[in-house]
Symmetry: C3
Subunit: 259 residues, 3 copies
């Protein structure tokens, strides 16, 4: 089954929705990417908020438009705050997204992420190794890096999507967004993006924001991937390395939604 390609009309439409809806995104994410994640969302016109105490996360998940759960620097305490947030999001019919960073190799996060699948994420976004590990088809990658290609993980992504009736995004040189039946491929980006911490984690945050937009979720999520890949290409052209890339990338995202 050949994946669809995202149309430029859909991309323009979703960009427009970001600008007009300014979704409020509750991010419970890892310690390394907090600033970059917030700046990516702000550049796109969304509104990020990082609320993390188990007493506050359910309150805020009820207020926010969507919730991001990223287990990159999971702690047992943080896991409790995440679970409370997810339960509140579900009770309040707010979508939540799982970024299963480095799942597979480490027991705590692997068990936790498997438990979370029962709480029905709207989207799971990971690299090939993470998606394969979550689908029970491999042991995970090397640290936070994948050891597989996204296309190799596509069957696992499709199986996982069908199994728990969710969308799965497996990212790499090409990103694939699938509900297990329909699959959209998103090309673009640049290898320089892998030399900057948090591009994948920030994509998960943008995917989360896109879940709060009206219209077809699969198309909006694919458009979110495409916005990031296009900004990555623009930024690579304008930069001399991973340092200048960061500024150029945020500027490019800002132009995406301003245009």
């Amino acid at each position: 089954m050949q994946p669809d390609l995202l149309t430029s009309a859909q991309l323009a439409h979703t960009s427009h929705l970001f600008r007009t809806h300014s979704p409020l995104v509750h991010c419970i994410t890892n310690d390394v990417v907090q600033t970059f994640t917030a700046n990516v969302l702000l550049a796109l016109g969304a509104s990020p908020a990082m609320v993390i105490d188990a007493e506050e996360t359910p309150q805020f998940a009820a207020i926010a438009d969507a919730l991001l759960i990223n287990v990159g620097t999971l702690t047992q305490e943080r896991a409790g705050a995440m679970r409370a947030a997810i339960e509140s999001a579900n009770a309040n019919h707010k979508p939540w997204v799982l970024d299963p960073v480095a799942v597979g190799a480490l027991t705590l996060r692997t068990e936790f992420c498997h438990q979370l699948l029962a709480l029905r994420p709207a989207v799971i976004r990971g690299n090939a190794s993470e998606i394969m590990a979550l689908a029970g088809m491999s042991q995970g990658g090397r640290g936070v890096d994948t050891t597989d290609s996204a296309s190799a993980a596509l069957p696992a992504a499709q199986a996982l999507a069908r199994q728990i009736s969710t969308l799965v995004v497996v990212t790499g040189e090409v990103d694939y967004v699938t509900d297990g039946h329909r699959t959209v491929a998103v090309e673009g980006g640049d290898p320089l993006m892998t030399r900057v911490v948090g591009t994948g984690c920030a994509l998960s945050a943008v995917v989360t924001a896109s879940c709060a937009l009206p219209g077809d979720r699969l198309d909006n999520v694919a458009a979110a991937c495409a916005m990031m890949k296009r900004a990555g290409q623009t930024a690579t052209r304008k930069s001399e390395g991973p340092g200048s890339f960061v500024a150029a990338f945020l500027d490019a995202l800002y132009q995406e939604v301003k245009a």
Copy 2:
């Protein structure tokens, strides 16, 4: 009562004091803005240090010149470390500043901030919604964003300042610094600053540093606001979006105190 405007002589004087005094600022702030806050203080010639364990915070608050308390990613554990730091700062006659991020909507931080008012902050710095919520005049904003204008919150700021004998800074398109009797208005800045995470939180850190300088505190705090607004304007002129803004902003602050 018409607010005063800050004189350029006062601004130049406070800039000079930053350069010559290099205040050591103990920051207990949120997870999202740590790097940016530290870099803003360093650009201005101040010395930041983030010490967070409840066993260490009282020791360090006694050594530092001033203490910042920012509740953006409050946890119950962090609240204890903050309280211990404040009590030590008070015992050692060091000023401390409260940034009541997102107070109003979330119970834990709202109760905590109200308790902290009894410990007499030297300055409270917030956006309109936060100041109104702290003064008991509204329910807070939308996440970390304000839903009110600074001028609308000025009466609340003045009432709060008089009530607990402190300075209140309410920031927005215009910043107001008030002791409840005298009010200074600070104009400038640019809307692009709201598309970069931590400009408000970093301002609170600069306000904290300014509390350690000799001279009139209200004037020094107003000058701190003006330095940030002026750097924001300079950076906006030199940048193409929120990414390049960050670098240009830190460069502009560095030039503020070098000049």
Copy 3:
């Protein structure tokens, strides 16, 4: 005893090893420098991962090529996770590096770092005040800043290196790398580097990565210092202040290993 100078051949050789080995570095570091540390390692072709829960740190320390322990924002809970990681690294014959941020003035971290010396770090990297405090020869600096010069701390560094059979790196205007018998001096850098948070902490991460490379460890560590100093000089030339420095510095590191 006159210190040796690093040869340019050694510097080129170690740069080459970074590129070809891509060490996986487990960083348990402070909250302020996580992003910058990760981006510095990525720019150099290394692979950073921040895993922090006491249940996961021993698992990951066994997988990673080397472990960084930085106590900048130590908490009692984090201390337990660090100790578990170190014991696993030792059991799996992986080198670990200690960055004793602000040791001396604060009791919790001072006692903790002294206990860690018994667990035999491969390298200790600190500023002059930190190394002198760790060697029992002073009370530490002012917050995270040193109040001594690196050359003044060299005897303390050499004594400490001999005492626990490790390498000690004391950094400042000149960096010294010593095993207590042989000492290599590394010149370069620029004072602007002290106006950017995390340059020292990121150096410790690069030193950690260098411990995973084949060849003489003292030479590799000195080359790591030299790469950072050279990139600092390049970045200073290309920047207008500490903001543009950050981007230029990461770009320069990226060029170091690409060349």
